[in-house]
Amino acid sequence: MTRDAKYWAPEPTPETPEPSGYPAPWKKTEVVGKPLPRVDAYQRVSGAAVYPSDLILPDMLYGAVLRCPHAHARVTKLDVTAAAKLPGVVVILTPTSPETEGITWPYYDGTEPVPILSTTCTFEGEPVAAVAAETPQQAADAVRAVTVEYEILPQISDLAHATVNGEPQVYARGDTAAGFAEADVVLERTYRTACEIQSPMELHGCVVRWDGNHLTAWESLQGVFWMQMQYAQVLGLPLASVTVNAAYMGGGFGSKLTISRESIIAALLARKAARPVKLFLSREEAMLVTGNRPGVDMTLKAGVKSDGTLTAFEFTDLSSPGAFSEGGEGLNDWLIRDLYTCPNVRCETSFATINAGPVRPFRAPGHPQGAWALEQMMDELAEAVDLDPVDLRLRNVPSVSQARGNRPYTTTGLEPCMVEGAKAFGWQAARTAPAQTGHIKRGVGMGACLWIAGGGGPPSTVIVKLYSDGSVNLNMGASDIGTGTKTWAAMIVAEELDVEVGRIQIENADTRATQFATSSGGSKTTPSDSPAVREAAYNVKKKLIEMAAEEHDLDPTDLRLADGAVLSRSDPSKSFPVTELQGVRRQRVVVGVGYRGPNPEGKVVCPFAAQFCEVEVNTRTGEVRVLRFVAAHESGRVLNRLTFDNQVFGGITMGIGYALTEQRVLDRDQTGKMVNVNLHDYKIPTALDAPADMSSLAIDLHDTECNTTGAKGLGEPVTIPTAAAVANAIYDAIGVRITDGPITADRILMALEAQGKEA
């Protein structure tokens, strides 16, 4: 059902209203681009912000889910008699409860919908029954008191033993055989990445309340409107009977682009109990069932001429959507297809279902995986033809999207990112530093990328209201998932209306109170919604100027808005405070509506990046320390330098986790169960893992074509090339290439031993 919600390939939306006199690109800005603290920082540091998991409603119950503890099993007996008698237990739902009859859960991938509660469970953690009780402890007691018997079925949780689903998806251009024939060097390598789990700090879940036939959900989500559609579709309700609110939410990284099966379960519990229900997952549950970045087995064959010209790529991969797909598999081959100029490319992508939790989108689906292979291969090719890694890449920079019919990019930041990044890093000097003696080895590495989306697009509708005292209300549908959406939106309004950011009130991410916006994911919120915000504010300004012109019989083209007044350009003595305009006094509010217009025809909008790092490897212990990072990002105009840099550093740090520590470990030979299902054994980076020395370069090529603010996405590219850059730096340090991620200490020691190097 949510196929059309795939956020990285927006469908054309002909219903989008034409822009009503789009403003021209800014020549210079007063507020936009400045490093301003977040407009909601007070709420976030004081505890005043109410996240969905914080909500307490009168008469609220707590939900809990009984989950299959096996990777593959059939429920043979389910007895809730004892559980129902426990104190505080109000409602129990089982697969045979009338309330669950006909309610099915449709996954992204078009496979047959499954019952909302399962009797045949195809992954560990699949919901079997659910309880609502007066306290969460009582709900948990009741779950434990349900008698379940399972027939354990054969499980496959290892890609090597899984059956490939159908034929591979093939992308091809040119003639790879001819390409390899004209190459001076041909290399073929296999690469593997581990399965990574999004692990946002706020757990997945919701508080739901029925009000007659109207459902209201406060849910930790990245976008409320697709979720309103999901609730409506699964529960058979009109959109007008579903309200979803996620004004604050504690991180998602893609895993909150869909509602969870548990959200529907919560709604069913609440309907049966006729009381509100809060159902938030535990960390263990979230790690099992709320998505992941699938691990991938990849083979890449590449040909290069001795002058550094790439001649051919052949790529095959195999990854798994888990037991089902909730979106986010695939695209592992996109960078191979599109990042560097190469006339002959063939990519074969395969999937195999396994008995493990369904995938969901995870920050730049497929791209860090593809970068892991491509960017390590580029370094090997460079060495083989005796070129600097940056130099080889610079010889193969495209100005068109080869995988999209050679359409040109609005701007191509790949080259300036590499050149400026290398300069800031001191790449030349670092590459030619003398080899170290002793067991601590230093090395430097880099990686580059683009992100398939990041240009955003329609639809988006935003409303800006100017109150009669000159303060402003900004009404936008987009979620602020931590990227500073509300802050740059307020800054754009401040820029257009010359009003202080502190005098702007924002309401967002509420299906009842705001207008449709696409979900916040895929680095497309800023480029999708910032033009709509700008147009809405611009239309308020236009109305104010028209009012002043009419009331005072002036030429509107001679008027401008500044400091709370409409001013004449030619006669500085003519100044009319906004609050004294008759139109404002009569209406008490001036409303401007902004729409997102279409993207430029025939062009492709992409953000680009290059990242450079230095690492230190202890060849006795295998430990890696990442010492410093320099990241150069071309994401169009920077709307807020402070939140921009913050996101760059955060993306790098997440990429370091991907490179060095993060991996879902399944007991693949025995039970198929996840063995590191907690944040102690599944290691996400801490403050000590983030390099103390990180710097961020913003490469602004003044993209006036992409949209009216010139801003492109940032959230995905910041983490795409990172792990590959770390892998390249480790190779530079120890002279052994490790192509299986994450590069843990034991892998380094084993690789050194295999090469007969010092251990």
Binding site: P35, Y42, Y51, V148
Partner: protein, 209 residues
């Protein structure tokens, strides 16, 4: 594979609810002894279902209430007192989102039973404000943009408070180490470290806190 195996779930077997509560109660008594050493009265089990009367001191206010001995301080703060600034991230002492000060020490509220906290001075992120005015650590977090989604932020702020109480002039390395018990998946760490450094300076300028 393919063999049949029966897996009756544990709790439905021999353990009765009364027996379960009894065993938890015994644990709570041990915990309560620790509290008594801090000079407060020993909580008594007064409720047939095992509820215990406690007096919790939170942000300078005393809350007299009945709690189940197994209720964590985190649960009571959030779901009973409505102090939802303290966040829940893992409920097993791994993420730090629930960090509060207990008698001036940064502690995970998810790893502390409510009965253990009785008699101690508990400070949550809400308790750092002076009226509507942010405290110096909170201000520094705003100014340095030491957050993204903000969910871990109250815990980070409380960890910073605890760190600066123990060490008013930490080096950058001490800050990184001191803050490493609090996960931030958005990884705002560089800004967090800068904010703690800024707060240390601000606190010193502002005299003893």
């Amino acid at each position: 594979m393919g063999r049949k195996r029966k897996h009756p779930e544990k709790a439905a077997g021999g353990v009765t609810r009364r027996g379960f509560i009894g065993s938890v109660g015994a644990g709570a008594v041990a915990a309560a002894t620790g509290v008594a050493r801090r000079g407060e009265s020993t909580p008594e089990i007064t409720d047939p279902e095992g509820m215990v009367q406690v007096a919790l001191r939170v942000n300078g206010r005393t809350h007299r209430m009945l709690v189940e001995p197994r209720w964590t301080l985190l649960f009571v703060l959030r779901e009973r007192l409505g102090l939802t600034g303290t966040k829940v991230g893992c409920e097993r002492g791994e993420c730090g989102a629930c960090t509060v000060l207990i008698d001036g020490l940064a502690r995970y509220a998810c790893m502390t039973l409510a009965v253990e906290a009785a008699g101690a001075e508990v400070t949550t992120v809400e308790g750092l404000l002076d009226g509507e005015e942010l405290g110096p650590v909170q201000k520094a977090f705003v100014e340095e943009d030491a957050m993204q989604c903000g969910y871990c932020t109250p815990g980070q702020v409380m960890a910073a408070e605890g760190l600066l109480l123990a060490n008013p002039s930490p080096t950058f390395e001490e800050i990184r180490r001191g803050m490493s018990g609090n996960l931030c998946r958005c990884a705002a760490y560089p800004h967090i470290v800068k904010a703690v450094d800024r707060a240390a300076t601000a606190k010193k300028k502002g005299g003893p806190q």
